[in-house]
């Protein structure tokens, strides 16, 4: 049996994850500078957000519920396929099976592929810190990342850092930029997004600012 099929598909996938937060979201994570006494709400300039991977509980109104129902990925698609025989219909798969066998429409495919790895699985007891730099023009190879004052590597290799649950001092520094400091709290299975704002400095100041 010979079959050729051409397949054309368009998928619009919308992953709807509530700003979880309760889920943390977008306006201002509190920045706790290791040296500062506290964090200011006014100061909280939306630089970090923690996104529990499953958080859709954005309203926080159902405090006692045990089940959190959330809308996952919505898949919408269009497809064209061409078959050349010899397929014996109606016993063959024409015209439905072929389409069904493609990966595009299977809702289970959508749920398994479009959700983050480990979404429903065990997470090894660690939490993720997603590190982004601002401005984006900063060369991440030259940006050093320190966790609890210990050198962790350069930012280009540390876009995602997995840490054991705990409170850490995160420092990000670059040659010609002011260092960024933040106290972060990592929970298992949660994802915390940190946007490190690196403001350009004069050379002398930059040297002083490095940890």
């Amino acid at each position: 049996m010979y079959k050729t099929a051409t397949f054309l598909g368009v998928v619009l996938a919308l992953g709807i994850t509530p700003s979880y937060s309760v889920g943390q979201q977008p306006s201002s994570p509190q920045a706790l500078s290791p040296n500062a006494t506290a964090q200011s709400p006014s100061d909280a300039s939306a630089e970090s957000e923690s996104t529990p991977k499953t958080r859709s509980d954005s309203l926080g109104e159902n405090h006692d519920r045990k089940w959190h129902v959330k809308l996952g990925t919505i898949s919408v698609g269009a497809s064209y396929s061409r078959i050349s025989g010899p397929f014996y219909y109606p016993y063959g798969f024409y015209p439905y099976d072929d389409f069904r066998r493609t990966w595009l429409w299977d809702p289970y495919w959508a749920s398994s592929v479009l959700y983050p790895p480990g979404y429903f699985g065990y997470n090894d007891g660690r939490g993720e810190v997603k590190l982004a730099l601002e401005p984006k023009t900063v060369e991440s190879k030259l940006v050093e990342v320190y966790v609890d004052n210990a050198y962790a590597g350069t930012a280009d290799h540390l876009k995602s850092i997995w840490l054991q649950p705990g409170a850490y001092e995160l420092s990000v520094s670059s040659k010609d930029h002011a260092s960024f400091h933040r106290r972060i709290y990592v929970l298992s299975g949660r994802s915390l997004k940190i946007v490190a704002k690196l403001n350009p400095l004069k050379t002398a100041e930059a040297k002083e600012a490095r940890p």
């Binding site: 964090q39 006014s42 926080g60 996952g72």
Partner: protein, 229 residues
């Protein structure tokens, strides 16, 4: 105890002070900068009730599951000192008998852990599709080939059920982290001669259209601050 042991203990004490985590938040310039404010006996009070969104932004701990969060600042007069205690604060749902005292970070963290352990996620993923297919097929009875084509549609719903506690925050280590976070961001207790600010956590559920008032016992008299979100 040997001299060396005394030195070790002394060093531990100094280190604990030197590396003590910051507490509270930075107070705004004046109490007037807070949506709700009042003054009594020379002490200015400013407060704001955080929305779910703000609580989610400012905390890694999932506070909207268990409580309401109030950011509060106290401004004692120059030369005056006040004793700050969580026992002096309570939150009332206006028009009801619902009132709760400020809870400690330890209690809130334990509550969050319990809720995280018992809850699980159900994710619903709908999908729809439309397609057109054409090709050559052979009739099994006559053996004749012929062209055939058709439009088809498909829809489906995928349902995923997570494990209990898969949202994080359910382990003992998580509880400790949450406790640290809430403690460090909470209103510092003890004597204060200058402005202090921090968060208060009240074990009340958020209800739509409910209005709240913060009650603060200051020198034996009650200061009531209606809160606006």
């Amino acid at each position: 105890m040997t001299k060396r042991k005394w030195l070790a203990v002394g060093f531990a004490c100094v280190a604990s002070f030197a590396f003590a985590a910051p507490k509270g938040t930075v107070a705004r310039s004046t109490a007037l900068k807070y949506p709700s404010h009042a003054e009594q006996d020379g002490v200015a009070v400013g407060a704001v009730l955080l929305t779910s969104h703000e609580a989610g932004t400012n905390f890694v701990s999932d506070l909207s599951r268990c409580c309401l969060v109030v950011e509060l600042a106290l401004y004692p007069q120059k030369g005056q000192s006040i004793d700050v205690s969580l026992n002096d604060f309570s939150l009332r749902v206006i028009g009801t008998d619902n009132v709760a005292k400020a809870a400690s970070a330890k209690v809130i963290a334990a509550t969050l852990q319990k809720k995280a352990t018992s809850s699980r996620d159900v994710v619903v993923s709908p999908s729809v599709g439309i397609g057109y297919e054409s090709g050559t097929v052979y009739d099994p009875t006559t053996g004749q080939a012929r062209r055939a084509s058709g439009v088809y549609t498909q829809s489906g719903v995928g349902v995923g059920v997570g494990y209990p506690g898969d949202q994080g925050g359910s382990t003992d280590a998580d509880r400790k982290v949450m406790e640290v976070e809430l403690e460090e961001k909470g209103l510092p207790e003890g004597p204060a001669a200058a402005a202090v600010a921090g968060y208060l956590y009240f074990p009340l559920s958020r209800k739509k259209n409910a209005r709240h008032a913060l009650e603060y016992m200051l020198n034996g008299s009650k200061v009531v601050l209606p809160l606006a979100q």
